[in-house]
Amino acid sequence: MTSICAEGLKHRELNEAIRGVDGPCRVEACCGQRFIAAGMSDKELVIKGVPGNALGAYLNGGRITVQGSAQDAVGDTMNAGTIVVHGNIGDAAGYAMRGGKIYVRGNAGYRAGIHMKAYKEKVPLMVIGGRAGSFLGEYQAGGVIVVLNLETPQEKCVGFFPCTGMHGGKMFLRSACENVTFPQQVTVRPADESDMTELRGYVSEYCELFGLDTEVVLSSQFTVVTPDSSNPYRQMYVAN
């Protein structure tokens, strides 16, 4: 694996260096450089340190592993590929992502999975091992968001206003969610057997990556959130 030391490199220089590498690539000493791997396809990238905002924006394939935390806008509008973050991620992760997977071991900031979508075989997946901030899955139009809250089950698994404007996709929350307030246009119910079978498919790769026991993770109660309508605004207008 080719190594690049990111120390002192501006984002443009670092990205050029990464593009210049054939095959897998390791970035050492990353310190806040933004836009790493924006638009990248089919490359294996390992980052040590903390990548800056918009890591893997428009990602179109390949795999990014961050051995640390990442900042805001991870996987913005990503189309395919996998992003694995061993620490926490900042705000607006997976904004409008249409495909691929984001696996986070720690917590996610505000507005994770906002306007996530799905199209045919493209069903994006975001699994958050810790807690998610407020506005999780706002405008969610497709795809799957899973919040596991593995470390602090006594705390709320999501912040305020999750699922506002949700009109597609599905959300799994590892909690009874008695203390979470959802908007009116979604259905909130305990996961049933078929949900759990579906969830196993999402969680098993995650658990393997982070050395967790799938059975233990799945043994808790999960809440499923789905939208009531894919046309939430249909009745709002009158032709003039």
Partner: protein, 501 residues
């Protein structure tokens, strides 16, 4: 009926002496106004469904039809107009938000019509474009502030990425979904033939149109529909849509009913699902955040394409533009309050935003005052109706203009302002295959080319009259403009003297 009944706005006048009951009108009207009554052996009409799109009038082979404004109106009232009262009735019946299409039709001042253009007399002679070369070519993008030389003493000619246009006009953003496949095909082909650009809008780029890439601007809006790496690579420039003149501050909802077939595929969302563009970009709360989106797009396309940031003309537009000019954007597009739309809440369309003439003048002045005018090019839209408007816009400081309504008129739009129904009889604002095929892209693109060719000639005539032989020499040349009937504040903002001064 009863309290809910509103007398039709239009009446169908059929000249029975001319009507041959050929039923063309019946077949042509997607609103189902016309029908043949076997009982009466004649055509009958249901005016309640008429939108006055003039399709039947245009296609009636015996010119037996006309659509007129109904004289059955409520008692006149200068405060409560018939339109306002009708709107109250509609809302009282439905509880719905009023939804309209196309640009603001209200009687606000049109500053273009209060600005006059100069011409040379005696001294600084005018130029005859028929025998002298006239340059209408412009390039949009960041320009260096000064000439720099390399180590060998030669001038460094490398520029940041530019868009090259044969004339200072482009087709403004209209999404596939809001308009039809054939309308997009017409725009793409015409732009290619003319050496200008058209704009995908926020609905993605149909696979058939990737080949027009060099003449395409691809748009990234808050919904990010159809945005992926190939799409970003496809065009000559990428436009970040922050706002739209017809509906500043709000997002868009393309109803699920219009997300069918190719539209669903191009937007990359399931059929029948609403396409919701949130009002803000939820990752942009500041100029710094905008800078982040600008640079993420530059990185994703390796700095090969200029980035346009499009905003609606609103109250503090000069300060907003100053921020955008510092965000790394290469081009700022400003859309005035008269800009069109496929659907917008009526009250937003008619009451929000400011005229593009004032916005443009204040932005250009502000960027000059701050010494950052060369950081960006300025493109303005929001009702550019003629070559004269283009000339006035350039003289007020624009690098180029965006046109959309004028382009749709060339394609056959009759401005009936009911795009939101999806039943456009002219095959433009519809996805119904039987209606879409009414617009022939061969004819459509030719008519667009005709319109732009005529405008280009007029631009050259007007420039020649002023003694100017390059559009670059006209940009920001406000001495070429005079105001008529404008007050001192308006003249000050426009930066032009009153006629006679």
């Amino acid at each position: 009926m009863g309290v809910e009944f509103i007398y039709p706005e239009f009446e169908v006048v059929r000249n029975d002496a001319r009507c041959i009951a050929c039923r063309v009108c019946e077949r042509q009207c997607s609103n189902e106004v016309h029908a043949f009554s076997a009982e009466r052996g004649a055509m009958v009409s249901d005016e309640t469904k008429c939108v006055n799109c003039q399709r039947c009038v245009s296609l009636c082979p015996t010119r037996a039809l006309k659509i007129v404004k109904s004289d059955c109106t409520l008692r006149e009232n200068a405060n409560w107009s018939n339109q306002t009262i009708r709107e109250v009735y509609k809302q009282a019946s439905s509880g719905g938000v009023l939804l309209s299409s196309m640009g603001n039709p209200k009687n606000f001042p049109v500053y273009w019509d209060k600005i006059l253009i100069n011409a040379s007399q005696v001294t600084n002679p005018s130029i005859d474009p028929l025998r002298e070369p006239m340059e209408t070519h412009v390039s949009l993008g960041k320009k260096p502030d000064r000439i720099s030389r390399g180590a060998d003493g030669k001038i460094v000619c490398e520029l940041p990425p530019q868009i090259d246009l044969a004339m200072p006009v482009m087709f403004s953003a209209m999404s596939y979904g809001s308009i039809s496949y054939n309308a997009h095909a017409s725009l793409a082909r015409a732009a290619t033939e003319l050496g200008i650009l058209y704009n995908t809008g926020e609905g993605g780029l149909h696979e058939d149109f990737y080949r027009y890439g060099p003449n395409t601007i691809v748009q990234v809006a808050s919904g990010r529909f159809g945005v992926h790496e190939d799409y970003l690579e496809a065009g000559s420039a990428i436009e970040i849509k922050m706002g739209q003149g017809a509906k500043p501050g709000i997002g868009g909802h393309l109803p699920g009913a219009k997300i069918v077939g190719d539209v669903s595929r191009t937007r990359m969302i399931p059929e029948g699902s609403d396409a919701i563009s949130p009002a803000p970009h939820h990752d942009i709360y500041s100029i710094e955040d905008l800078r982040q989106l600008v640079y993420s797009l530059k990185e994703a396309t390796e700095y090969r394409k200029p980035i346009i940031v499009k905003v609606a003309a609103v109250h503090n537009i000069a300060a907003i533009a100053s921020g955008i000019a510092r965000s790394g954007a290469d081009i700022i597009a400003i859309d005035g309050f008269r800009g069109g739309t496929g659907a917008a809440p009526t009250l937003i369309r008619d009451n929000v935003g400011i005229p593009i003439e004032l916005a443009l003048a204040s932005v250009d002045q502000r960027l000059r005052d701050e010494g950052i005018r060369n950081n960006v090019s300025l493109v303005v839209g929001g009702s550019i109706r003629s070559a004269a408007d283009v000339i006035k816009a350039v003289a007020l400081g624009a690098d180029a203009c965006y046109i959309a309504t004028a382009a749709l008129l060339a394609l056959g739009c009759h401005l009936c302002r009911t795009c939101q129904t999806g039943k456009c009889n002219w095959g433009i604002a519809t996805q119904r295959p039987d209606l879409v095929k009414r617009l022939n892209p061969d004819v459509g693109s030719e008519r667009l080319v005709n319109l732009m060719t005529a405008w280009r000639r007029e631009i050259m005539e007007l420039m020649g009259g002023m003694g100017i032989n390059s559009i670059e020499a006209l940009r920001g040349n406000r001495l070429m403009l005079r105001g008529v009937g404008l007050n001192e504040t308006e003249l000050r903002i426009l930066g032009v003297a009153h006629a006679g001064e």
